[in-house]
Symmetry: C2
Subunit: 229 residues, 2 copies
């Protein structure tokens, strides 16, 4: 049972996150101000520390929230594809990533931009949530019938160890070529989206969503993914 007091606490906590999210959207991550949140809540500045121990902690909360929303969005889109249609799955993931990033640029910057200076996210709380989308790509490639590549065995073994740390449930039979290609696929996707959001070519690419499709198809071809049917 929830006492009124607990309920009120939970409500205030939710309000804080809501306002913080608004600040993130309008001001960016540097605009996050605990004092401003308190002001907007009608609280005195020190009272906010009853709920959030520090600004960094608030940032971590927002990052967790964003990773979850991002993972949900992309996984939901991918889940609607026929499992056998690898090309469709890849294209869908790419489009979903871009769509979410364009709709939530502040959050995208938080997750995949340069780290907020002076702040380091505690890996144990972010990497698991943050690996959902890259693992989607990895799974997709694992489902493909890839030609074994001449990869560097010690490098691949280390990669495997690293990924296993992130998500212990990793299937042990992930082939070397899947790991290497998955990393390239996800990196390139991030690069394409980040450059569109942060970079100099903004206008052009935004005007033509077909551009991403072209690039995804091209990348897919490299990675051994067939065209969508």
């Amino acid at each position: 049972m929830e006492t009124p007091r607990q309920r009120q606490h939970r409500q205030t906590m939710a309000d804080i996150l809501r306002i913080a999210h608004g600040q993130l959207v309008t001001e960016g991550s540097a605009g996050l101000s605990l004092r401003a949140i308190a002001r907007e809540l009608g609280l005195v500045s020190s009272a906010i520390y009853r709920y959030v121990p520090s600004r960094d902690e608030l940032l971590t909360l927002l990052i967790e929230e964003s990773y979850t929303a991002f993972g949900d969005a992309v996984e939901a889109a991918e889940a609607r594809c026929r499992r056998e249609d690898l090309g469709r799955r890849w294209l869908t993931v790419g489009r979903a990533v871009r769509r979410w990033a364009v709709a939530n640029p502040a959050e995208w910057a938080l997750l995949y931009g340069s780290p907020v200076p002076g702040y380091h996210a505690p890996p144990e709380r972010t990497t698991a949530a943050g690996s959902r989308v890259p693992f989607l790509v990895l799974q997709l490639l694992a489902d493909a019938d890839l030609q074994p590549a001449s990869d560097d065995p010690p490098m691949t073994a280390a990669l495997h160890r690293e990924l296993d740390k992130l998500r212990p449930g990793l299937p042990g039979d992930l082939k070397p070529e899947v790991l290497a290609r998955g990393l390239l696929a996800f990196s390139s996707l991030c690069g394409l989206v980040s450059l569109e959001l942060f970079g100099q070519f903004t206008n052009t690419v935004t005007q033509f969503p077909a551009h991403l499709d072209h690039q995804l198809t091209r990348l897919g071809a490299t990675l051994g993914i067939p065209e969508p049917t």
Copy 2:
């Protein structure tokens, strides 16, 4: 002729930039503090505004400086390659980009990470310097004999206009497939480097520089670049 007064001004200006650069390396872009710079110079806080009108302006100066150093490093490496050896040029550019980024992570974050919140770099002062490396990739692809691709003509035309704005000297006969592939190449490279620097796979990839070579070769194959001889 330079009067002593001008000389002293220039010297102080250089000192400011040197200290600011040090702050960038040790504290990150949020650690940039005009007051701290003044303190280190033995000046009172307000005196710094004789030299730098605002913190944002200081950031812009640092960005210009970084773009120049970055462009110099990569262009110098690429210039040492035989013109005909496209594969070598591509590999060299990729390695040079990564080497510079690993050696100057704070600057890399400044240039290709998420924008410093609340600050927007004046495009007229950064895009020209910032387009040096991507244009190196573009030139490289232009030198290749690419198969014409079935690209979206209006998209390509818009891309061309956009790039022309960045650097008016753009050769008018840049083929559509060159533009699209150049963008993919540069984006992917940025993604690979940024994920290594900011991301979760840091340890692994750093331990095995061969990883980047693999990925560059794979990307090169997609883009119609032969293996280095």
